[in-house]
Amino acid sequence: MSEYCMGEMIKRTRKSMNMSQEELAFGICSVSTLSRIENGLETPARATFEKMVERLGESKGLSPCDTAEDEAYRLRLLTVRNIIRGQQEKNSFLLDEYGAMGRADAFPDYIKASASLDEQNTTECVALLKSIFGKKGFRGDLSKIDYAILEPYEVHSFILYAKCLSEKGEYSKAERTINALKKYLEESCNFDGIYGELYIVLLTEYAEMAVTMGNSAESLAWCALALNEIECRGKTFLKKKVFDIKARAYEADGRRELEHEYRNYAHVLTELIKSCAVERKKPVAVAMFNY
């Protein structure tokens, strides 16, 4: 479940707008109520909450409830999930539906960016990503990230951006981006759903970057973190990639045996996926055994 802590969100947005509690609460509720809401001690009534959202404005990605907006969010989330899991083929239907909604936001840019990165076209990808950040008001500047509310596709855009930077050789910048993003995710998100998956993707990217930079010890540490997350959350779809990275790191260290071992693991996983596709026999009539 993607969750935002209501109080936390109000507080963040209010602070980012340099608004005091008195200003926000004026005419809506008492200051002490607002403070209780912000600290998670009280759940606001719907009317109160909507008035506050209205006052905080739509500029920060907040909007009072809106059916079309909600549906668009759902489609965006599903699309990002498929992209992370490497199941892009499932997306065409979702994208058609999204296109039919005729929304003018940065999401199509994100889709194009992720496709152009798949085709190794980093220049185009960076240009597209920059336009996404521009719309959100970042301009490559991550210092403001603390107070923003990032949707899954925006988080993934940052990951892609870091990947592009590292491919262009700007490692220190990429590292800064990833670290800022990691801090953001750890502080503000619930890891049960898609944000947990994005976190695993982030750790894996970091590990891959480190091994490309020739820093195998660090890469192994990040791999271990990623594997731990994968294990804890039961989200195994990136396991093979982590094994590949580990093998590369061990190769760089010259530890042949371990390298072979992890290459083998990655191979077995691919093999299994392939073999069960080939082995499809005619189904045994399961029904006759059912009660």
Binding site: N39, F49, C65, C232, G234, T236, K239
Partner: protein
């Protein structure tokens, strides 16, 4: 994009499935609360909302939900409890106490989640008599479903926590050696989960667990032929999702089945090799060697 719209989603799905408000809200909230939620008059608390959506087979992951800090923390505690249950029972015991303290005892849904955690720990530790654990599992279900009975599983609406309790109950039955009963419960849950309106993402992990338990049960009963077809279904899920959480168990069961069904030797050999690698990958080479020993002794394969 906020929570308010979720009321509409709940209403439209409920009307589509032709379910009455009273049936949906049973044990979660009163009918009037449900109708207020549907009309967007109030914010439901997180777990009420989650239970309602799960009973309707909606994956709530797709929606942004605003919740209070306490609920987010409670959720995190439950997650930590579940992840350390296998590794470190002592930590799990400590976490369970924190979960109990954090749970809102007036909220049936939250209290049932705490109950399920405690049930899992009991099963893992096996300090209590198994009969008691089985009885407690059933009582736990009665918290939110006063008239629950196993015979009417097909007509009922279950939330994720509720069907997980049933899966755990089946496990206790297995340990009690009441395999037929366990199999019936598992097949019931499988039937429930494979209903059309269930969101694939919501049931993915649990469906896998249920299938795996069915395979295990059938293997232990010696009904390899049926086990084989269920295990095929499991592996098909693996190739579709490119991953599963219980790969080791799946492969071990598949190997046992292949050996017992006297499949062609080269086929079995390849499977043993694959299983060995998978075990090594997940549990380390020591366990892989134990598997080697097992295969050598039991089946005469080198």
């Amino acid at each position: 994009m906020w929570e308010v719209r979720i009321g509409e989603i709940i209403r439209s799905q409920r009307e589509k499935l032709n379910i009455r408000q009273g049936k949906l809200s049973e044990g979660i909230c009163t009918v009037s609360t449900l109708s207020k939620i549907e009309n967007g008059v109030i914010f439901p608390t997180r777990y009420k909302l989650q239970y309602l959506m799960e009973r309707l087979g909606i994956d709530s992951e797709q929606y942004v939900i605003l919740s209070s800090k306490r609920e987010i923390e409670f959720n995190e505690m439950v997650r930590v409890f579940n992840s350390c249950l296998k590794k470190d029972p002592a930590v799990a015991t400590y976490m369970l106490k924190r979960v109990e303290k954090a749970a809102d005892s007036t909220n049936d849904a939250e209290y049932q989640i705490y109950g399920e955690c405690s049930l899992r720990l009991d099963i893992a530790e096996r300090k209590k008599p198994l009969e008691n654990i089985a009885r407690e599992a059933m009582e736990l279900l009665h918290d939110t479903k006063a008239n629950f009975s196993l015979d009417r599983l097909g007509e009922d609406l279950l939330s994720k926590t509720e069907w997980n309790i049933l899966i755990d109950y089946a496990k206790v039955l297995m340990l009690l050696d009441r395999k037929e009963e366990a199999l019936r419960v598992l097949l019931g849950v499988k039937g429930y989960l494979s209903k059309k309106h269930m969101d694939a993402e919501l049931i993915r992990g649990d469906y896998e667990t249920v299938l795996l338990r069915i395979v295990e049960t059938l293997v232990s009963m010696g009904r390899f032929f049926e086990a084989d077809s269920y295990s095929d279904e499991l592996l098909e899920g693996f190739s579709k999702n490119k991953a599963t959480a219980n790969l080791v168990e799946i492969m071990i069961n598949r190997t046992t089945i292949a050996i017992n069904l006297r499949k062609p030797p080269e086929h079995v050999k390849r499977m043993i090799m694959q299983t060995r690698e998978v075990i090594k990958m997940d549990k380390g080479s020591e366990t892989a060697e134990r598997f080697d020993d097992y295969v050598r002794k039991e089946c005469g394969y080198a």
